[in-house]
């Protein structure tokens, strides 16, 4: 079976201007949402706080739970239903209560008073102190930074510096789009989301490199078509692969999104957005950028690219 005919020749490069506008609009909406909401919506891993997941033996409502917990006098309590049946909830409070009589126990006790003993099953407790939250935030950012530097070095070594810059630009695009989507959909950024961001970075690079690799190969063969022509040809030649791989990856991510359960849900959401953005950015950001660079500094490329054409 074939989805993409072998002689396909879409004019991707010609759509660069429209693509840049689209990307800017999407990113600006995301940034607008971030600014409007006062920064990223950090979950307890990074902001500190307490989160409990509770299953009730009978369905109840978030408002009733809040009522039952009024006595705790917690500032910003968030009660959120998990799943379809209204018997499992996440309760999040910004306080940590580092002392031994944990906040989680107080919450259970208060709920048992309203719902009756034995009707409340505490399934999960997460308490992160502010100091640990700060550490985790710093470590997470460092991990992102090191991953970027490491891949930048590797791509510069395998290709050329400007290709590395194009790749980094593409993945910055993907991370920004995903971050914006998280803000728009009010999703919390937690430790697993950092892992998701790194997976997106990995995926985005992966995708970009496949096309760069093809560009490198085609420059020798079709140099006469001009750089933009070579890039467009390379995108078209790898199109079938791009669609198939993105497709299969999206299939499993959708499976995770639907069946993976509460903890994995946001993680899968990040991957979903990130992979779509990553596929798009490979074509319209990473490839467009090297063309842009070539236009500014022409004639430079062939020598540089030819050097490792069969690396």
């Amino acid at each position: 079976m074939q989805i993409i005919k072998p002689d396909v020749n879409f004019d991707f490069v010609g759509k660069t201007k429209a693509a840049v506008i689209l990307s800017l609009v999407v990113i600006l909406i995301g940034i607008g949402s971030l600014v409007f909401k006062g920064g990223p919506n950090y979950g307890i891993d990074f902001a500190g706080g307490t989160l409990v997941q509770i299953r009730f033996s009978e369905p109840t409502r978030a408002a009733d739970i809040k009522d039952a917990l009024k006595g705790l006098k917690s500032g910003d309590m968030v009660v959120q239903q998990i799943g379809e049946e209204a018997n499992e909830f996440l309760i999040r409070v910004p306080e940590t209560g580092g002392e031994l009589e944990g906040l989680a126990q107080k919450i259970t006790a208060a709920l048992e008073q309203t719902y009756g003993a034995g009707k409340v099953d505490m399934r999960r407790v997460e308490m992160v102190g502010p100091q640990v939250g700060k550490d985790l935030r710093e470590k997470g950012l460092l991990a992102l930074l090191y991953a970027l530097i490491g891949t930048l070095i590797y791509i510069s070594w395998r290709f050329e510096f400007r290709f590395a810059v194009g790749a980094i630009l593409a993945l910055a695009h993907d991370v920004l789009v995903t971050l914006g989507a998280f803000s728009l959909f009010n999703k919390e950024i937690d430790l697993p989301i950092i892992a998701a961001f790194l997976a997106i970075i990995g995926y985005s690079l992966n995708d970009t490199i496949i096309i760069y690799d093809r560009i490198r190969e085609n420059i020798g063969k079709y140099g006469k078509e001009g750089f933009a022509g070579v890039v467009n040809r390379s995108i078209n030649e790898t199109l079938a692969r791009t669609i198939l791989t993105s497709g299969t990856t999206l299939l499993v991510v959708v499976a995770l999104f639907i069946f993976g359960g509460g903890v994995i849900h946001n993680f899968a959401f990040a991957l979903l957005v990130g992979i779509i953005a990553g596929t798009y950015s490979t074509i319209f950001v990473a490839s467009a950028f090297v063309i842009y660079w070539e236009k500014r500094r022409p004639g430079h490329m062939e020598a540089g690219l030819a050097k490792r054409s069969h690396g």
Binding site: M1, I3, P6, R55, G98, E99, L100, G102, R123, R124, V125, M127, V128, G129, Q131, L136, K139, G140, L142, A143, Y146, A147, G150, T151, Y154, I155, R158, P192, I194, A195, L198, A199, G202, Y203, L205, N206, D207, I209, I210, D213, E237, T238, A240, R241, L244, T245, T248, T249, L251, V252, V253, A255, L256, F259, G260, G261, V263, I264, F267, G311
Partner: protein, 532 residues
């Protein structure tokens, strides 16, 4: 390129057998001989999958330094008295310092000499004159402070380990983290609340004489004579179970501490059928206790645990047997836990909870099921897509994929890595990305076939041309995954583990194993047309 077909086949076979052997205990736990399951552990599940408790405790090391200074202050006071040096006072000051105030220069010189001789670790500081007195300041050296802090954390780790051992959790993990943090993991713990209470208790046991001449009510209002201390006595109503706290004033000076305990046991008081904790002192402790009780017959002695008075009985007679008891209307579990912490020893400094992640067993089971479900569905969808798109070659890719998952699990079990929920997500993601290598190869082969090459030539060209793309793209992802592994914590690490293993293993299966299968059909079945 069908050279060494046999050797390559053998390599894959060896990997396969090794994986089967190491995975067998995970797959069929019960039907294997004992030696087998012992040699290869089943895959170790993270706390989020099997349920359990992950705690990070912070040791308040500054308190340990203060404690040490307090005892130096005590010793210095005794020393100066012993040597008949006239001094105004000795006190602890901020900045890891203590100050000795004397009336004249002569006494100051005496103090200098004595301190230098007896406390070499203290650094003398500038002398500040304070309205006619001479104040000698001494500071703990930076190195000494570091030592005290370090020792406090190590001691705390040791004590916590003792407590966990007595609490009875299988395969607990206790680790020092950074300078003053301790990580504790208790898989499958049943009563997290109790575990926290048990671990977090400082368990500093002190015996202090009650200051009978001070009215507690006055003390509550703030009229506290110097040298005394206001504490609260915990009383439990045996009928209602309600606790009340009564103010009680004690001498600040501790006459004895719990360090001298040899053992602590729960006993039942037969008269009231109430549990109490019986303590036995060691030889030194027994002697001390004997002296103290002899000197204070008729007075009340408060038994203080972590600044709460548990009881303050009247000493009726000299106690020379070297045993004492704490009673205070405990429940049986409270008494048991108290005995545990007393036996395990006190923490050198208070601890507080910095991080607590507790997952109940039911949620863990749900997570495993959801994880398995998404792996299965995701895998089936990918297999379906590949088979429809690449027909028989798609089935080769499928075989490589299944083998890949199998290898990932085997490597996890061989390296005793921990499988977590994000780890499962990593495997699912690997499934999606692993087929990429095969997609790249197959697309190349199709291109080569379109150029009119023979099956054999197209295969060769397809594999070799796709290789650089596959390696480059996988290495970059691997870099990201390894960084995650190095700098990530908790869930991030679990994800990085399976992703890294998955990338390496997928390169093996998607390139090496799939090629082997193609070669088999080409050479041994003389296939002339490729279903791709």
């Amino acid at each position: 390129m069908t050279k060494g077909f046999k050797w390559r086949g053998l390599l894959v076979l060896v990997c396969l057998v090794l994986s089967l052997v190491s995975l067998a205990p995970t797959l069929f736990r019960d039907s294997l001989p004992d030696w087998w399951s012992k040699a290869f552990d089943p895959i170790h599940l993270g706390l989020d999958l099997q349920g359990g408790m992950h705690l990070v405790l912070g040791v308040d090391v500054d308190k340990a330094v203060e404690g040490r200074l307090d005892s130096v202050v005590d010793q210095a006071e005794n020393l100066l008295r012993e040597k008949d040096v006239i001094f105004k006072r000795v006190d602890r000051q901020a900045g890891e310092q203590l100050a000795i105030t004397v009336y004249d220069e002569a006494a100051g010189m005496q103090v200098d000499a004595l301190m230098k001789e007896n406390f070499p670790s203290l650094e003398p500081l500038t002398i500040t004159a304070e309205s006619g007195y001479i104040q000698k300041n001494y500071r703990l050296s930076t190195r000494e402070v570091e030592n005290i802090k370090d020792y406090a954390v190590r001691q705390a780790l040791e004590t916590l380990r003792n407590r966990v051992d007595q609490f009875g959790v299988s395969e607990p993990t206790l680790q020092r983290q950074g300078e003053n943090r301790i990580l504790i993991q208790l898989p499958g713990v049943k009563d997290p609340q109790r575990a926290i209470a048990l671990l977090g208790k400082t368990a500093r046991l002190e015996f202090k004489m009650v200051a009978e001449d001070v009215d507690p009510q006055q003390a509550v209002k703030g009229n506290l004579p110097s040298g005394t201390q206001l504490l609260y006595e915990r009383r439990v109503d045996s009928q209602t179970g309600a606790t009340t706290e009564l103010p009680i004033v004690v001498q600040e000076k501790t006459v004895m501490t719990g360090d001298l305990l040899a053992d602590a046991q729960v006993r039942i008081d037969t008269r009231f059928n109430e549990p109490y904790v019986a303590m036995d002192f060691n030889a030194i402790g027994a002697k001390r206790f004997d002296q103290i009780t002899a000197a204070n017959v008729g007075k009340r002695m408060a038994i203080v645990l972590d600044d709460t008075v548990y009881s303050a009985p009247v000493i009726r007679e000299r106690i020379s047997g070297g045993s004492a008891q704490i009673s205070g209307s405990f429940s049986e579990q409270e008494a048991t836990d108290l005995a545990i912490v007393l036996r395990a020893g006190s923490l050198p400094a208070p601890v507080n909870i910095l991080e607590d992640r507790t997952v109940g067993p039911s949620l863990g089971r749900d997570s495993i099921n959801q994880g398995l479900l998404s792996v299965t569905i995701g895998g089936l969808l990918v297999i379906l897509a590949m088979t429809i798109y690449y027909r028989l070659s798609g089935i080769v890719a499928t075989l490589a994929l299944v083998l890949n998952i199998f290898f990932i699990m085997a490597i996890l079990s061989l390296f005793k890595a921990t499988l977590t929920l994000p780890g499962i997500a990593g495997i699912v993601l690997t499934i999606g990305m692993a087929v990429d290598a095969n997609v790249l190869i197959f697309e190349r082969i199709r291109e080569e076939l379109r150029l009119g090459k023979t099956v054999r030539a197209a295969l060769d060209a397809g594999y070799s041309k796709a290789l650089s793309s596959i390696v480059d793209s996988n290495v970059t992802t691997l870099i990201a995954a390894l960084v995650l592994f190095q700098f990530g914590t908790g869930p991030v690490k679990g994800f990085a583990v399976t992703l890294s293993i998955g990338i390496v293993s997928s390169m093996f299966t998607a390139i090496f194993v799939s090629r082997l299968i193609f070669d088999y059909f080409l050479v041994h079945r003389q296939v002339k047309r490729l279903s791709i």
